[in-house]
């Protein structure tokens, strides 16, 4: 498969891009932020996503979805990134769907059609500390009665306070197991915190939470593959969103270079800025290609996907980070004002950079996967 969008994908982009730009531009984020919205996203906008079939993009057709791939989901995520749109699309429509589809079974039957129909928001409760360390999960699930009892603390759970269900990774006797924990389960408390990018992420406490045996997603002790599917999908999706954030920041900045005058000239005439903008362009193009390659390999079910996913998360992190930093610097003083959007791009990039492993984590993963 060539590494560019085919006709169907280009059509998808042509319908999603104007939709997101019109319905959820940066002003939409500002409005939620300035009204101190308690949900973290707009349910009206989510209903429009549902109308377009977006939450069910990755859901297999047998479960009521569209059966599309990561390349298609990435098209939506890039537009979400470019417009800084607050949305549960990444956690619900990408991460949760990838895990449930990989696992199959009762929970897939229960939740995949609900996600596709827009009836369920799902949160991903993986992280436990300030840094992403999915190999060091301390939350426990002990056998109790007919099912399990979960104890532990989760952090950085986006939409955790409003999710109908959270996918919780916990340690069981013989390995890692993933659980579908409904919001109303006793002993679950979600404490939402406003993050730098105005999103809401919860500290989730699991205090003797009892779930049935069929709450297991996949098999007991064998959750690693399901967790890996969730991580690969979410990381690739976050990388695609970062490409959108970086591209949005870069476009805004390049336009500014063509408008702002100092010393009697457009500042875009200065070679010092031209070269930095041109360098950034190269980094963004490379990041975009890398993310597309990871999407393609995931869609093909290739063995090489895992490596490329980490490469993509790291490269997109570097490139988008550069885009927002150069963006603020090249905007000069107004780049520091709340009124200008460029600062919002820097904030969203910071949150996405951290989500599901930062640049350093994934560079380290690349070293490990190459045996050093």
């Amino acid at each position: 498969m060539p590494l560019y969008h085919n006709d169907d994908q280009a059509m998808l982009k042509d319908s999603v891009a104007p939709f997101v730009a019109e319905q959820a531009p940066v002003a939409h984020l500002r409005q939620l932020r300035d009204t101190n919205d308690a949900t973290g996203f707009s349910r009206e906008l989510w209903a429009q996503f549902v109308e377009m079939g977006l939450p069910g993009m990755l859901v297999p057709e047998a479960h009521g979805g569209l059966g599309m791939g990561h390349m298609e989901a990435g098209i939506v995520l890039e537009e979400i990134g470019r417009n800084l749109t607050p949305s549960p699309f990444l956690s619900t429509g990408v991460g949760a769907v990838a895990a449930l589809a990989k696992a199959g079974g009762t929970q897939a039957e229960r939740w995949l059609p609900a996600i596709a129909a827009g009836e369920a928001i799902v949160a991903l409760a993986i992280d436990e500390g300030a840094k992403h360390r999915p190999d060091r999960i301390a939350t426990t699930a002990a056998r109790a009665g007919n099912g399990f009892r979960l104890d532990g603390k989760k952090s950085f759970v986006l939409h955790g306070h409003v999710a109908d269900m959270s996918i919780v990774a916990a340690k069981t006797d013989g390995g890692i197991t993933l659980f579908a924990v409904p919001r109303q389960a006793k002993g679950v408390t979600a404490d939402p915190r406003r993050l730098v990018d105005s999103s809401l992420a919860s500290h989730v406490t699991l205090d003797g939470v009892e779930v049935d045996a069929d709450a297991v997603i996949g098999e007991v002790d064998a959750g690693e593959d399901v967790l890996n599917a969730l991580l690969a999908a979410t990381r690739t999706g976050a990388a695609a969103e970062m490409v959108g954030v970086g591209q949005g920041a870069m476009d805004m900045t390049v336009n500014y270079l063509k408008e702002r005058k100092q010393f009697g000239k457009l500042i875009g005439e200065f070679q010092a800025l031209q070269h930095r903008a041109a360098h950034l362009y190269g980094e963004m193009e490379v990041a975009r290609a890398t993310v597309m390659k990871a999407q393609q390999l995931l869609d093909e079910g290739s063995d090489g996907a895992k490596l490329m996913v980490s490469v993509a998360k790291a490269k997109a992190g570097r490139a988008a980070g550069l885009a927002v930093r150069e963006g603020v610097q090249m905007h000069g003083g107004i780049g520091m004002t709340d009124e200008y959007d460029i600062g919002l791009y820097m904030k969203r990039d910071r949150a996405l950079a951290e989500y599901m492993g930062d640049v350093h984590y994934h560079i380290d993963q690349v070293a490990r996967m190459n045996g050093y």
Binding site: Q274, A278, Y372
Partner: protein
């Protein structure tokens, strides 16, 4: 089975039957590379056999049309052939500036007669070409070139000199930018082709910081060039040159410039050593190598996307400048890490254990990557102007 799958199977079978085992070994030094030409000396029979088999099949230039010595393959088929060659580590049967640079220019600007004649020679590896672009006073500002061809009716008399002519001392013919109108800067250059054995042509190798001499100074002293031997139009050679530079940048970026999927950290695990956790026993160098691996693997994806888009007319025409910039900067970084990974052993300049200082010489050679074919700074200028459309550039 789809047509492409059938093609892949056919290619696989053909390679199995025609690519000698010796041609599936990694290239160790320059003598393993076949450049063709009148002065070509094959290193062994396998190299000769491999070239001849590929020539017969059109596989030295698989995507060129059949009448010009190619195999007429589509972009998808060409990609499959490359993948299958890579799969068995097949060496390139023929490396050539004719294939990489002059060929694409002739395909676009040449007459039918020129295509049949020159492209056929290139495809068969009969003529080795060199490129006469830069002059001592015209580097980044190439269009200021002074080598002059005086109109003598049926021929030009060319005087002047070129510099950085790669392998001029080994080449048979030169494609050369010559001023034919002193009053017109851009529209006063003709893209000429002539034999390096013409009376009045001399070459002098330039010794570089690597100790090697891959480049020459080339002098023209009353060289007669028939007025049939030019590409495109007289005085419009700059158009051809610009087009060709795009391909040179494509070659530099797609070629050896860091597009490899081999992990640099894995390569150096042995010389640096590992700790009890199986990590490179030098945490900061490990981190730099891993960060480099990320950029290399990312650039490889970029290379794939660039070629997919370039071959189907989807790429921005100036995007080869970005590829060249990113790829060459990456290759320089690779060799900084190669030197750090090799430590004091990588300082040895001529010991037999280090293949005569292969590493430090290669390290020094890479410093030219971001100078030749347009400096990194010129690449950034072009991106700023032609892609980002920034003012005044």
């Amino acid at each position: 089975m789809s047509e492409l799958d059938a093609f892949r199977a056919e290619v696989r079978e053909w390679l199995e039957a025609n690519c000698p085992p010796e041609m599936r070994e990694p290239v160790r030094d320059e003598s393993d590379v076949c450049w063709g030409g009148r002065k070509c000396v094959f290193k062994n029979d396998a190299q000769k056999q491999w070239l001849e088999a590929c020539v017969a099949k059109g596989y030295t230039v698989p995507d060129w049309p059949k009448p010009y010595g190619g195999a007429g393959l589509s972009p998808e088929e060409t990609k499959i052939l490359k993948q299958e060659m890579k799969r068995i580590n097949a060496r390139s049967p023929l490396d050539s500036f004719g294939i990489w640079m002059l060929g694409p220019a002739l395909l676009k600007f040449g007459t039918e007669e020129q295509k049949v004649h020159y492209l056929g020679q290139i495809a068969r590896g009969e003529i080795r070409w060199c490129q006469g672009y830069s002059e001592p006073g015209s580097g980044s500002d190439l269009v200021s070139l002074q080598t002059f061809g005086e109109d003598k009716g049926d021929h030009w008399v060319v005087n002047g000199s070129k510099i950085w002519t790669s392998y001029a001392d080994k080449a048979d013919w030169i494609f050369c930018l010559v001023r034919t109108d002193k009053a017109n800067k851009y529209q006063g250059i003709t893209f000429m082709l002539f034999d390096m054995e013409s009376p009045g042509v001399t070459t002098k190798p330039i010794k570089l910081i690597s100790g090697n001499s891959p480049f020459c100074e080339t002098f023209f002293d009353d060289v007669a060039v028939p007025k049939t031997q030019f590409v495109g139009e007289i005085n419009r050679g700059w158009d051809v040159a610009k087009y060709l530079l795009g391909h040179e940048r494509e070659m530099i970026s797609g070629g050896g410039a860091g597009g490899d999927m081999v992990s640099i950290g894995a390569v150096f695990a042995k010389s640096i050593g590992k700790n009890d956790h199986g990590e490179l026993d030098d945490p900061i160098l490990r981190a730099e190598m891993a960060a480099f691996d990320v950029d290399v693997f990312a650039y490889r994806a970029m290379g794939e996307r660039f070629m997919d888009m370039w071959k189907t007319g989807r790429a921005h025409p100036a995007s080869s400048n970005m590829m060249k910039y990113v790829g060459t900067e990456l290759n320089k970084r690779r060799y900084e890490l190669v030197m750090a990974g090799g430590g004091s052993e990588a300082l040895e300049w001529d010991s037999p254990e280090t293949s005569g200082g292969a590493r430090p010489r290669a390290w020094l050679r890479t410093k030219a990557n971001s100078i030749e074919g347009g400096t990194s700074e010129v690449m950034l200028n072009v991106i700023a102007k032609r892609i980002l459309d920034l003012p005044g550039a």
